[in-house]
Amino acid sequence: MPRSGGVITALAFAFLSSGTIAADPLAVGRQMLMEDNPGELWIDQGKKLFHNKRGPKNASLEQCNFGLGAGKLEGASVKLPRYFADTGKVQDLESRLLTCMEQLQGFQRNEVMKRAISRAGSNGSDIEALALYITSRSNGMKMNVTLDHPKEREMYKAGEYLFYRRSGQTDFACVQCHGESDKRIRLQDLVNMTDQKQIQEVVSTWPAYRGAHFVVRTMQWRLYDCFWQMRLPELKYESDTSIALTMYLHYQGNGAVMKVPGFKR
């Protein structure tokens, strides 16, 4: 990102000399926002939340095992979701975080969960900052979700099934909006999640700073918000449905090079 400096100035004077404007009327703004992402302000906050002693047990999260061993964060998020023997469950980053906050720090899982998705225009939640910090430690690494355990394969297939499962008064499944390229809802570009390049762009950019909400959003929020827009009931935080969909999407996006935080309009 620091290397991209001056692109905009260069752009400005390119316009000046040629008198032309970029063909895509949205592109200039998107590039300008992407270059300097306020989401980065939350990385340090997440780092503090991870290393500081907190909660009823006055402990840090340094002993949390995200699958590669206690405290090992580099390369952990690109292998998630995965099966964890200690909980007997397939967990994504956020549900694993909850497990650690509960077991290591003594937080009440339900209380943390209630606040996990912050209100727009707030300072964001602990989970949002932590998820961003932990994922950022895998920046530059490739998404590499595997399906070694039978439960992981179950989750993957369930996620695929759910991606295509239509219901509700809009008759929508995920694929209705995310099955074709170059489509938009109003002005918002829709990612074709059946296209490998495009799904890679998705899985490598969450957590992301959401411009309209001024906070960092996570994959759990992204899925929750889709179901809201589909007029379906509220998706429970860290539910199997959310983890199955994440499993399916992350696996489809394997090979994507992580670069969080993303910036979403």
């Binding site: 990102m1 620091p2 290397r3 400096g5 270059e35 300097d36 306020p38 302000l41 225009g121 001024f214």
Partner: protein, 105 residues
């Protein structure tokens, strides 16, 4: 207590490309919170940037600057190791100063 700014200062020739991100609500005084109460006007009014102690930009903002503000500028005559110091002050008297060192790109 204000959160630290994120300041990048990268050398391009003899110009330091300075990019500043600030955690600040920049409230317009018109927005209502979840309970329906007006959130009071709260925004950065002054922001200064110095280069090795010399003021290079002296900015004044209204509440129209976006939440979690960004400021980009280009400092002439810079070299690696130079000090960039940024200070902001808001209408409630809160302020924050952070610094960065110019790095070669």
């Amino acid at each position: 207590m204000a959160e630290p700014m994120k300041i990048r200062a990268t050398l391009q020739g003899d110009i330091a490309d300075v990019r500043i991100l600030i955690a600040h609500p920049m409230e317009t005084g018109q927005r209502r919170d979840a309970s329906g109460k007006i959130v009071p006007l709260h925004f950065i009014q002054n922001i200064t940037v110095t280069h090795n102690g010399k003021m290079v930009m002296d900015g004044q903002w209204s509440q129209a600057i976006a939440r979690n503000p960004f400021l980009g500028l280009r400092v002439k005559g810079a070299k690696a190791g130079d000090k960039i110091v940024v200070t902001w002050t808001d209408n409630m008297g809160d302020k924050r100063t952070d610094e960065a060192t110019v790095t070669a790109s």
